[in-house]
Amino acid sequence: MSALVLSPSAALEPPCRAKPLLARLDPRSRVLAALAFALLVVCLRSLPAAIAALMPAILLALLAGLQPGPTLRRLAALEGFMILTLLSLPFTMGGPALFSWGDWHWGLEGTRRAVLILTKGSAIALSVLALLGTLELTELGHALARLRVPPRFVALFVLSARYVDVLRAEYARLRLAMRARGFCPRASLHCWRSLGHLLGMLVVSSLERAERVHAAMRLRGFNGHLHLLDEHRASGLDWGFAAALAVTGALLAVLDLA
């Protein structure tokens, strides 16, 4: 697949292949673990517990062999999405003010809430990157199928994951052609319309590709089901991992209630 990619595809590659321990787990355990951990962390209400939840997340990231640089950049991008919310909270939650300018009071309560949101969001994002980001997308699709996600959705997921790289290569080719004709992106109606035409051409070529793919799949007797060839079994390692996760969860819950 990577031979088809013209531009450096670093953004799409997982930051690193999973190191043995996480890679030896059944993909289903990784999906379930990510869900369970996220559900637990979302429910935490106290700041010490949320900070403590960062520890297992960091441990998972280390076990998965995530590279610190790209991972931190992704976390920063994630926080960027919420910057408005986080910055407005200290002003809107009231409570005692830490410091104030005229009518603007930077409140203690809101600061605590913003830090809580930031910590919980980072812990979950980190665990997801470690547990799911290092999985092959096909493996993730098969794990979803084994977990009784509707087969049509799984087929859609696996097929799209396969074509992301192909379409990126096509996009890079068209974009290069535009550059060769002197196009440089600027905030103007012309630029937006040209990029719209570029994406429109991508739509056209992907629809035509879809027709060819569909014909080829029909030839091979496709009836809406992708056959699952993986033979993953939950092993002792998976049960050990589940036990460790359960203990961690119980400790976090106790810390949260204390």
Binding site: A11, L12, A38, V41, V42, L75, A77, L78, F81, L84, T85, S88, L89, T92, G110, R113, L116, I117, G121, I124, A125, V128, L132, G133, L135, L140, P150, R152, F153, A155, L156, L159, S160, A161, R162, Y163, V164, V166, L167, R168, Y171, P185, A187, C191, W192, R193, S194, G196, H197, L199, G200, L202, V203, V204, S206, L207, A210, E211, H214, G224
Partner: protein
């Protein structure tokens, strides 16, 4: 900006979002017959790729949500297609969240589908249809994101309003780009617009 991370919205909002998403997914998956599967898969890969294309706006840049286009081309099947995009973004980039996925899906896919169905009625004039569907989808998403925040607590009201304002430039870019896309499709591959999704 349409991705709310985990840990922000309250439990009732999470449940409401999940319920809306499950309903939309059920409707969408029923329409996703094996014949339509490759087309939907190709388009959801495209939505993911399009989210990597940056449109310059002033000193900053935005990326398209392509909701209006998804709605026009796929109808209710836009729900599962956008869901795939969100799962890919969550798994590859850690964007959005896990528990909040239902809320994010409802916020993006519901306005996209409704605006797309509206846009289909205007296809006699493709550029207008594209612009209307795109603006409707973005405006609907802005309102729903603001609502999800505001309903999670009074303290988020200001943030919700501020976020809604940041969607205005995206609305302009998305309208121009989608009008161009649908106009191009009408010229180059009109049968793709006629297909009843």
């Amino acid at each position: 900006m349409a991705h709310i991370p985990d840990g922000v919205v309250s439990v009732p909002v999470l449940v409401a979002g999940a319920a809306l998403s499950v309903g939309g997914m059920a409707l969408g998956l029923r329409r996703l017959t094996p014949e339509r599967l490759p087309k939907a898969a190709m388009l959801s890969a495209l939505f993911f790729v399009a989210s990597l294309v940056h449109f310059p706006v002033g000193v900053s840049s935005v990326h398209l949500l392509m909701g209006g286009l998804a709605g026009i081309l796929l109808g209710w099947a836009a729900f599962p297609a956008i869901a795939v995009g969100l799962v890919l973004q969550a798994a590859l980039f850690g964007f959005g969240g896990v528990v909040v996925l239902g809320v994010n899906l409802a916020n993006i896919a519901l306005p996209a589908t409704l605006a797309g169905l509206l846009g289909r009625r205007l296809l006699a004039r493709p550029a207008v249809a594209g612009a209307v569907a795109a603006m409707g989808a973005v405006a609907g998403t802005a309102v729903m994101v603001a609502l999800s925040l505001a309903l999670s607590g009074r303290e988020f009201l200001v943030a919700g309003q501020a976020l809604a304002v940041t969607y205005i430039p995206l609305m302009a870019v998305e309208a121009v780009a989608t009008a161009a896309m649908i106009g191009l499709l009408a010229k180059v591959k009109p049968e793709s617009l006629e297909l009843r999704p």
